[in-house]
Symmetry: C2
Subunit: 438 residues, 2 copies
């Protein structure tokens, strides 16, 4: 029943900048012990393949089997899991999958198709867009086992046209999460292995006798998984290294305060390091949200995590006006940005950096997390300044296409030769000159 | 006058697979000494800013100045460099820039525009595409100082709409490359500093009093630069870590052998580690190319590098037919792929993995390197399996847009709540339920 001691700031206070920096401070320091352990695991799996995967799975997941093949989940097992969940769960998974698929199909059409044109000399220029051959999806086990993440990773890959989608998921002591397996069935995962940690990342990156090598690995994981992904980057593609999840609510005071309080909770309940921030120019409204927080928290099963997160990393910030709130939002570049305003389209054009923008009072982040359609894998820790939601584009790559016509070669040859000689690359120059008519 | 001892293989030979693996073998082992040095430099620049940048510039580039401001190249200096080069060079730079700009404008239109739609419930879904605020472009000094790379990095950023483009280029002992400065002028670089190495990457990633912090760093560099980019990844975006350059020529025997020999040279002349491979089903034609190599090499100013590269990493490979050549090409996933055939469009659909595909006898790689229009920054070392040429998309990021209508919230709410309860995230569920009409 104690009030939640969430930080309250005002941009008008003299030490605002320092206090604001403290709120934002989060450092993803790498841990040398984890790095060294992960380097070992990668080297062992690279060298010993299946044998090393089995050894680490026994050691870390207490799962002792005779072969990696015994760790594979068959399509029948996935289907059995799907059949065993409740009809309401089946319907929810299928509706969510259908909406996510439909959104990503639009995304592919909007930005993921091949294109080409010919210039006045008949030279063809363009880009061919092709799917990756095979990708790996890491799905965490344990407390952060989210079936929705299976959909959000596998469906864009599927829509992109990826030939084979390999899921890995740790099942400590053999405990399988039926909703995760059901989601894998709905999402159309090609193969699945109950392997996790750095050993799973290594198996996907290098391939073993049983687990095929993939071209890219996506999906969240713990510190070992993150370190392993960073290390295999280059050998395979990776998506991103996720930090703690964040929500920023930009409110003009028109949304019921309970709704905003619950939206702040929905981020905070993920994890004690998750961050929930409210920016609002209306002091009375901030008080109402604070009161709602205090009133609602005791009803939440995850109240301890929520409280720790709000008190450790949360903030309610009073701004001069909505314009200033937008400017601060751009400095934060939040993962999730709710524009809880009567006029969301007035403010949206000012918002330059965010993973996903939720417009209007009815758009709770949680609707976007599960089923609105857009992806819930989003850039964290300010990386929305330069990166994007996971999407179809992450499972495609592009090849430039160039077909220089004979006429085009006469125009381009002298330009290329001039620049090549300037760079001291005479073979480049002569290759262009050979194509000139004598 | 000694014949070039380039490896010759046939897919029919019994040990082909082993020999082929040996050709492909290239390992980007990290060097612990370089890693440690780079970690120090990054930490020093982060802590001491301009002072550390000055210290390292004096130490590594033998350039002793009073302030980082003295290392800035003014727009007037860039213009003076442009005015001082020959009229032919000016014209070539401007023609190349114009063609590169035009291609990247098409690219932006084809895949880089915002989109949105409303579903049957009036819910808006889409993606907003925005340029990065500020990017840094690393331009190497010394032997690999390529003005064309300035164009290829800066122009896509410009087309994307990036607000500020900061170029860094080392100028050891104060020696400036006039073509690089002229290219910076033509490409419309916003600011330029004569700083290089890991200290330049650190300054761009963290910002100093004089050098502004950027959101992404692109451009090639030596092992120190590559290690520094890898380490600051996450703090800022990076493009890719480039390996040695490669060309694969897929020939059906219809292109003059001298042309193909010169195309192989044009890759080999970059660097002793560069790789040139010919795949061809016609043994007599391979002999003609080999004879052309031996005939032409002595005329090349960079013959020593070319010979070392061809003998160390090159290969002429006889295949059963063109289909097999295409299959092998897909295993290599080359950076540059020339389809030197009378029927390039017959083979192109089979080619799934390549940075850039050059179609037909007139399309020498060098035309693409300088001025055809597409970017010459391409994925190396087989990473074309999962990555793409540098493009406008590298200087943009996307934000999902979601505006759930009141009607939409009634449909989505129960789905989200069902899944959220299944994941044990009650606040997510209640945030959705709060939006339901009671």
């Amino acid at each position: 029943m104690t009030a939640v001691a969430i930080r309250q700031l005002s941009t008008a206070q003299p030490d605002f900048e320092a206090a604001f920096q403290q709120v934002l401070h989060w450092s993803a320091e790498t841990d040398d012990a984890i790095e060294a352990r992960v380097a070992d695991i990668l080297a062992e799996v690279r060298r010993h393949g299946d044998a090393a995967v089995l050894r680490y799975t026994a050691l870390f997941d207490h799962l002792d089997v005779a072969s990696v093949a015994a760790l594979e989940l068959t399509r029948d097992e996935l289907k059995a899991a799907f059949d065993a969940i409740t009809p309401a769960q089946r319907a929810a998974l299928e509706s969510a999958a259908q909406r996510v698929r439909s959104y990503h199909e639009r995304q592919k059409e909007a930005s993921g198709l091949s294109w080409q044109y010919r210039d006045e000399d008949g030279t063809l220029l363009g880009q061919k867009v092709t799917p990756l051959d095979r990708v790996g999806i890491y799905v965490p086990g344990g407390k952060a086992a989210y079936p929705s993440s299976v959909l959000m990773n596998a469906i864009p890959a599927h829509v992109a046209g990826v030939g084979e989608i390999i899921m890995v998921v740790p099942t400590p002591r053999g405990e399988k999460n039926p909703l995760v397996l059901a989601a894998a069935y709905v999402a159309g995962v090609s193969r699945a292995f109950t392997v996790g940690g750095a050993q799973a990342v290594a198996a996907l990156a290098y391939g073993t006798a049983t687990i095929p090598r993939v071209d890219k690995i996506t999906g969240p994981g713990n510190a070992y998984v993150a370190a392993a992904k960073r290390r295999v980057f280059g050998q395979v593609g990776i998506d991103m290294i996720a930090g703690p999840s964040e929500i920023l609510v930009l409110a003009d005071g028109s949304t019921p305060p309970d709704w905003v309080a619950m939206d702040l909770f929905s981020q905070a309940e993920h994890d004690e390091l998750a961050q929930s921030i409210l920016l609002c120019p209306d002091a009375a409204y901030i008080d109402q949200v604070r009161a709602a927080i205090d009133r609602l928290i005791d009803g939440m099963p995850r109240r301890d995590v929520i409280r720790a997160s709000l008190e450790g990393r949360g903030a309610l910030i009073l701004t001069k006006d909505m314009d200033e709130a937008c400017a601060i939002s751009n400095r934060i570049a939040p993962e999730h940005l709710e524009v809880s305003s009567r006029e969301p389209h007035r403010w949206e054009p000012q918002l330059r950096h965010a993973g996903a923008i939720f417009l209007g009072a009815f758009t709770s982040e949680s609707l976007g997390d599960y089923c609105a359609g857009p992806n819930h894998v989003l850039p964290t820790s300010g990386t929305a300044r330069f990166s994007s939601p996971l999407g179809v584009y992450d499972f495609q790559k592009r090849s430039s296409l160039i077909e220089v016509s004979e006429a085009g070669a006469q125009v381009l040859g002298p330009i290329a030769a001039e620049l090549a000689y300037g760079e001291g690359l005479q073979a480049h120059a002569q290759a262009a000159e050979f194509r000139l008519k004598r």
